[in-house]
Symmetry: C2
Subunit: 323 residues, 2 copies
Amino acid sequence: MADLETRELRYFLAVAEELHFGRAADRLGIAQPPLSRAIRQLEHRLGVRLFDRDRRGVALTDAGRVLVREAGTALDAVAAAARRTRRAGSPTRPLVLVTKAGASHELLQELLDTHAGEPGATPVEVLLCEVGEQAGLLREGRADVALMHRPFDDLAGFDTEDLCVEGQVAILPASHPLAARDQLTLAEVQDVPDLPIARWPRLDGSYPDGPGPEVHTQSQLAQLVALGKTLLVIPASSRAWQWPEHVAVPVTDAPDVTTVIAWPPRRHTAAVAALVRTAAGLRPHSHPDAGCAGSARTHRRRLPGAARAGAARAGGGPDGGTD
Amino acid sequence: MADLETRELRYFLAVAEELHFGRAADRLGIAQPPLSRAIRQLEHRLGVRLFDRDRRGVALTDAGRVLVREAGTALDAVAAAARRTRRAGSPTRPLVLVTKAGASHELLQELLDTHAGEPGATPVEVLLCEVGEQAGLLREGRADVALMHRPFDDLAGFDTEDLCVEGQVAILPASHPLAARDQLTLAEVQDVPDLPIARWPRLDGSYPDGPGPEVHTQSQLAQLVALGKTLLVIPASSRAWQWPEHVAVPVTDAPDVTTVIAWPPRRHTAAVAALVRTAAGLRPHSHPDAGCAGSARTHRRRLPGAARAGAARAGGGPDGGTD
DNA sequence: CGACGCTGATACCTGTCGTGTATCACAGCG
DNA sequence: CGCTGTGATACACGACAGGTATCAGCGTCG
């Protein structure tokens, strides 16, 4: 029943990702035979086959697929332990807040200003990332809190507090006929032949099939819209996307987007709790037609307000034990 | 930046718990000098002092306290990885559902019956535990889903779905004057001189100060009530506590208790998703005055119903990706 | 006040096991 | 049928975790 070592999990993940012992060993900086042995030993210890070694290739078994996911979170947890402990020892340790570049800009500005005004507030360092990266950064301990957006981001495993609710707009090339409209529906936007929806890479780096262009950063996508190659539907407060060549048209039946502040569970330091409290108190949980903090400007019009005040929240609040 | 090994974390936790290198080494089954070296090396790698070695004792530093918590969850994650992978490889793998012994009995019965009736349902194995143990079992991968109770249990870090809401009752010795009452308030129950509230052990095993008896299992507490030594306030549907020598009296202003089904985030197997769906569909989310599933019998009277339908929920639902 | 006990730290040796080099066995392919 | 490329095997080496013996400080107690 001997416990697994992180080294074994790293080795396993390398092989699982490369599906090739030689390349995996190369990536790990070791030779291939020891890697083969390590995997074999891991399989023996778990009592489970992790790979099907067919003569011309390696494939994950069902159990292997389970371990891919489990090993990932376990290694994240170990890395987070090291990182958080290091930071706990350093004399000055600002809170790291991560958010998608360009999203909820006014809300963030207001949060930072308000927080900075509180007596004895911990300095906050802002880390901007690309779409979907917040969860990983939080899990690895590279960040303490994140601004995330439901239903886009995966909030599973975090404690969250709703901050504001807003509608979505379609971002179109100004030159396109649809850009003249006052409002749109999802159905109208879904299938515009000359503006196919862009494709983001999957976790493994491959792209789904489809007519749209392949992108992996916001800037690429924004430029493709400006070039008249695609369109997108985003929360009204997202500023980074909105170029002069763009037009934003409210999409009436698009699901509302909730901006939430999220933090790893059971990690309430006093500093995080204070920041969360400040965020929650920014305004009475998003006034029905205020959009998010600040004016949710678009290039064409203000949005029809978002109804449905924030509701959900994971576990216990951010108050509680102080340490 | 070399990664930590789980061995180092286990060593650290042992020392942190014993606060004594000799005893910790003993517990780990190794000699003391290697342990000292390992800790020293760990401190060096992290660049942080973890212990203050005063001449007559070892104490955790701030960074050490952070690592205690982090190492715990990291080791849980590693153990869960091993356990879940093993189970994924075994031919027959029933779902393990854990709940507090005696809690929400009727709801559980109904859930199991309904689930068993579904076509192709995975067999469910029920694991009964003591108060507050569910979270750990879920984190360590010993269980797949849990029935938990808000606000008592710590739901942080899990996905949850509300199942039902109910009021609380005071469990009193039948012989006590208060047992004759129709209903009570928290204030009345809080400070009964001859029925001091029992004390549960803290995480470190020590007991808080106070007049009440020390307990660490439900049965002990139930018997102490029967003996006229203490009282307690619990959800109306908790059956294990209610002996013939007990009387249950509704506490009108006690906070409502929500029974939830919880599972580790990002672990939606099809089987878990199906069970959660069944649970959520058991009835239209707790009818205002139905109490929990089945009749919430007490020895004296039915409870005044619990209002406030379930609201919160953590991350994404249990549907989604099937694997 | 000095001998003793107890703490964790140090010194040094040993055995294990993770690693590298060399090689093999087997499939696909031209 | 040899070539290429895969992962598995054999074996020797070296790093490092672990054990034993001992030391150094600080209580305590006769």
